[in-house]
């Protein structure tokens, strides 16, 4: 057995022996080869290949390489996917590794987003592994001249059912170095919980040691011989047109080259510091452009002509509202927010001698990005070789894609490999923003405390302008005159509808064709905004009904798993009905608030209780503890899941309390950590998590669900403390103080 081989040795030894015709993974390539490229994997035929060989390969040593179209974004999915595949294939964890996100090499599984990697992305990998395991049983059966039903697989071996290891044959011996030449059988059953050996265990993440030792190869660390460094200079004001530039302004840095194409401007130099200094010094003249006043933002959102779609309908809400004795209305506001990746985006590109272009960046969808770049620079899709290399956490569509195309444009212009590192101001100023939204609600409760009417009107643009094969979605496409992209309406309706059983309701989403700032996917898309409105308004109706917030929600839910998370969080937080406000001491009021949601109305269940301290005299608000009960079906890696939930809660608290993109008439002005503050160590809440494991259920995503209930839980706690509603994010000190001053 080779299970004694540690992972690092394994990676080193197996690097040159992959079966699909390329040598080593992209990051390592970039370190060593001047013209790195992967040859095309012939088993990859379009999206979602059905060839087993497209998904995995087994070497003579028995080592297994899994090809994944889903990439590790820093959330731990590489480890979790490997757990799932290793179990399906019956191999030890140390015998599997993953190659992901390389065009022509890994399957096209679309974009890595939306908490979908484990939920849906793992399925074809598991099916391929299950099909492969069946073939290994057949091969061993032929060899031993027995029925394959008399054999079992264990630890990378096929052996007789009695487990006689003396008669075991290793996978490497059966198929090693050869292809399966087999179509994935969609009928092959996947393993059930009783067969899991790795799934359900808190295995340590495979990427962690290198991250702790500082040796991990992020895209920011890709180095190619002869590589130059470049920085970009963006139009100011936003939307302005290039007029001229003054070359003498960078005359003091003789090595610098200036690249200008339409409204795209960059400087490049052999030394990074020279590129930085040149970007600061270069004088560029722009004309036109500009932004509306930020104070008009929500007014513009309400007045932008919209395409109205009904996302939920029951009974007759208009009649129910008209005849209601107790009617409540409220409006909620959520500003533009940014991804705030700690490492600004970085892309590396080079034009190869054969005219193809290699790109390394942190894109969430290599094929969709490849196609967009092909359109941008007007070459065939096949001539773009895109390599995903992990970047700083992105939480959605940040600057990763755009930094990659920056590198392509500069590399083409100067004829050298180029690394484009965005500045902090580039990332904060120019990443696509999570959209600002307005939500108007009206509702009523009957004398028995039942919600008799629920009317929701949300105003939103699309939450996805990802590359999706269109140059017009790339910032550089927009700067160089690419045709405008056509995007469907995505994400603004996420959790607009609730899962409460309301007899009379209408949920309307007012889709807007434009946004004040360039907008795209940020963790949860429209769900944090919509859930803030819905769960705050649920609390408003609960107050009108003079009911307990936990009991009120339970009374409007039919689904047992929804009720389970609410009951679980109530137990975890030792919820006492009627005790939401826990009193005033030393000028501090302590109180708690509740929120519940089922993500996307079809996925993971989250119930949350936030304990806050409010100091009415100053408006200071502190979130002390957050309790979460979480049901995402089968749990693959409990500690990895807890890590995600903790991250969702703390990042969600940051978004609720502190975050808003600011802009003046020219440009975004929240361009660093002083003007766009996020939660710090001294401000973090304690997070208490109750996991509900359901091994018989399919796994649901966990990267986003627990982020959407945070803002309403906090706002509801503030109401419990003070009797005042916070209906606009972020809940800054000034805003809390002003809410408390209202009559």
């Amino acid at each position: 057995m080779s299970t004694a081989i540690d992972r690092a040795t394994f990676l080193k030894q197996s690097g040159g022996a992959l079966l699909v015709g390329f040598s080593v993974g992209a990051p390592a390539l970039a370190q060593t080869a001047a013209t790195p490229q992967a040859t095309v994997n012939p088993t990859l035929i379009g999206a979602g290949s059905n060839a087993v060989d497209a998904w995995l390969a087994i070497e003579r040593t028995g080592l297994v390489t899994v090809y994944s179209g889903k990439v590790e974004l820093g959330t731990g999915t590489e480890t979790a996917l490997l757990q799932l595949v290793a179990d399906e294939l019956s191999v030890p964890f140390k015998m599997v590794r993953m190659i992901s996100g390389i065009t022509g090499v890994t399957p096209d599984q679309g974009v890595t987003s939306g908490s979908q990697t484990i939920m849906t992305g793992s399925i074809p990998m598991r099916r391929a592994a299950a099909t492969a395991r069946m073939r290994l049983l057949e091969l061993a059966a032929q060899r031993f001249q027995v029925a394959s039903a008399d054999l079992v697989t264990r630890d990378g071996y096929v052996m007789p059912r009695d487990g006689d290891r003396a008669r075991a044959v290793g996978y490497g011996e059966l198929i090693g170095g050869r292809k399966f030449d087999l179509t994935v059988n969609p009928q092959t059953p996947l393993m059930g919980p009783s067969a899991f050996r790795l799934v359900g265990r808190s295995l340590k993440r495979v990427d962690f040691p290198e991250k702790a030792y500082g040796t991990f190869k992020y895209v920011q660390n890709v180095r190619i011989p002869g590589m130059w460094h470049a920085r970009v200079i963006r139009p100011n004001p936003v939307g302005a047109t290039f007029v001229s530039l003054d070359r003498s302004s960078v005359g003091a840095i003789p090595t610098v080259k200036i690249v200008q194409k339409g409204n795209f401007v960059a400087v490049a130099a052999p030394k990074e510091w020279d590129a930085i200094r040149a970007a600061r010094a270069l004088k560029v003249t722009w004309s036109g452009g500009g932004l509306p006043a930020q104070s008009d933002l929500y007014d513009i959102i309400r007045k932008t002509p919209a395409d109205v779609k009904v996302a939920g309908q029951a009974g007759d809400v208009d009649n129910a509202l008209a005849s209601a004795a107790k009617k409540v209305t409220a409006s909620y506001y959520w500003p533009f927010q940014t991804h705030g990746s700690i490492g600004p985006s970085c892309g590396v590109a080079q034009v190869n001698p054969d005219g193809t272009i290699s790109v390394w960046n942190g894109t969430q969808g290599v094929y969709q990005m490849r196609d967009a770049i092909a359109g941008l620079v007007n070459v065939s899709k096949e001539s773009i070789k895109l390599n995903y290399v992990e970047a700083s956490g992105c939480y959605g569509h940040n600057g990763a894609d755009d930094s990659g195309t920056d590198a392509v444009l500069v590399a083409q212009a100067i004829g050298r490999p180029v690394r484009v590192q965005w500045s902090r101001a580039d990332e904060h100023g120019w990443d696509p923003k999570g959209p600002a939204m307005v939500m108007d609600l009206a509702g009523a409760v009957g004398p028995d405390g039942t919600v008799t009417a629920w009317k929701f009107d949300g105003f939103t643009p699309t939450h996805s302008t990802r590359p999706s094969g269109q140059a017009g979605n790339l910032l550089d496409g927009q700067l160089t005159g690419a045709p405008p992209a056509k995007n469907g309406n995505v994400g603004g309706d996420r959790n607009a509808a609730t899962t409460y059983a309301f007899a009379n309701q209408r949920v309307s989403v007012h889709w807007q064709p434009t946004a004040v700032l360039r907008a795209s996917a940020l963790r949860g898309l429209g769900a944090p905004q919509n859930c803030f409105a819905n769960e705050s308004f649920m609390d408003e109706l609960c107050h009108a009904a003079n009911a307990d917030p936990v009991a009120f929600r339970l009374a409007h839910l039919n689904d047992p798993r929804s009720k389970d998370v609410l009951n679980a969080v109530a137990r975890l937080a030792q919820w006492q009905p009627g005790q939401a406000r826990r009193g005033l001491a030393h000028g501090v009021i302590r109180a708690r608030g509740v929120a519940f949601a089922r993500y996307e109305t079809t996925d993971a269940y989250v119930a949350m209780i936030a304990d806050v301290d409010v100091i009415p005299a100053t408006g200071a608000l502190r979130v002390r503890d957050v309790y979460v009960a979480h049901d995402c079906g089968l749990i693959v890696n409990p500690d990895g899941l807890r890590n995600q939930i903790e991250g969702c809660v703390i990042q969600g608290t940051s978004r609720a309390l502190k975050e808003q993109v600011t802009f003046d008439r020219n440009r975004v002005t929240s361009v660093d950590w002083r003007t766009y503050p996020i939660l710090r160590f001294s401000e973090i809440p304690n997070v208490h998590v109750a996991l509900i494991d359901r091994p018989q259920e399919r796994p649901l995503g966990a990267g986003e669900p627990a982020t959407i209930t945070v803002a309403p839980a906090i706002a509801n706690a503030v109401f419990a403390a003070t009797g005042k509603r916070l209906r606009e994010v972020p809940f800054t000190v000034a805003r809390v103080k002003s809410a408390l001053a209202e009559a």
């Binding site: 990427d207 030792y213 500082g214 710090r680």
Partner: protein
């Protein structure tokens, strides 16, 4: 005006020549010594991803002129320990799985090493204060605090 700067980097004597003595240490470490530990995060000394130890004190290498390290000692996270001989903080960060994307981790470990040198057994509050200038966007803060406590508990000596 080229300037020669000599310093000890992760235990080895090093000498570099720079055109601009105000060039931040970060770019020298990353581009001349191919180190991956110190990260570019903001270039403004606001986030802590670029932190290194200079003569035992945690500094922001993105704002620290190369000329000012002349004759001194610079330690990056790679110099604290490696897979063969890990620093107690590196072991503890792995044990607590104290990151998600890990981009801020180097800076967290460096700032924590500086803390533990002065305060070998810090309280939670002392850890949070010491790390308040290091930003983590994935929000692994609770784990990072636990990791620092674990390292302290497991007989943290000098960094």
């Amino acid at each position: 005006m080229a300037k020669s700067v000599s310093f000890t980097l992760n235990g080895r004597r090093r000498k570099v020549t720079v055109d601009d003595p105000s060039e931040p240490l970060l770019y020298v470490l990353r581009d001349q010594f191919d180190l991956n530990g110190p990260k570019f995060g903001c270039g403004l000394a606001q986030c802590g991803s670029c932190s290194v130890l200079f003569d035992g004190v945690a500094v922001r290498s993105c704002q620290y002129p190369i000329a000012s390290v002349d004759g001194g000692t610079v330690t990056t996270v790679e110099g604290l320990g490696n897979e063969h001989k890990p620093h107690p903080l590196q072991t503890a960060f792995i044990a607590e799985q104290a990151a998600q994307c890990g981009y801020c981790t180097s800076g967290m470990i460096i700032s924590s090493a500086a803390l533990l040198q002065k305060t070998p057994h810090p309280t939670d509050a002392q850890i949070k204060t010491a790390l308040d200038g290091n930003l983590c966007r994935c929000a692994s803060h609770l784990r990072i605090v636990r990791a620092v406590k674990r390292a302290a508990a497991e007989g943290m000596k000098s960094a």
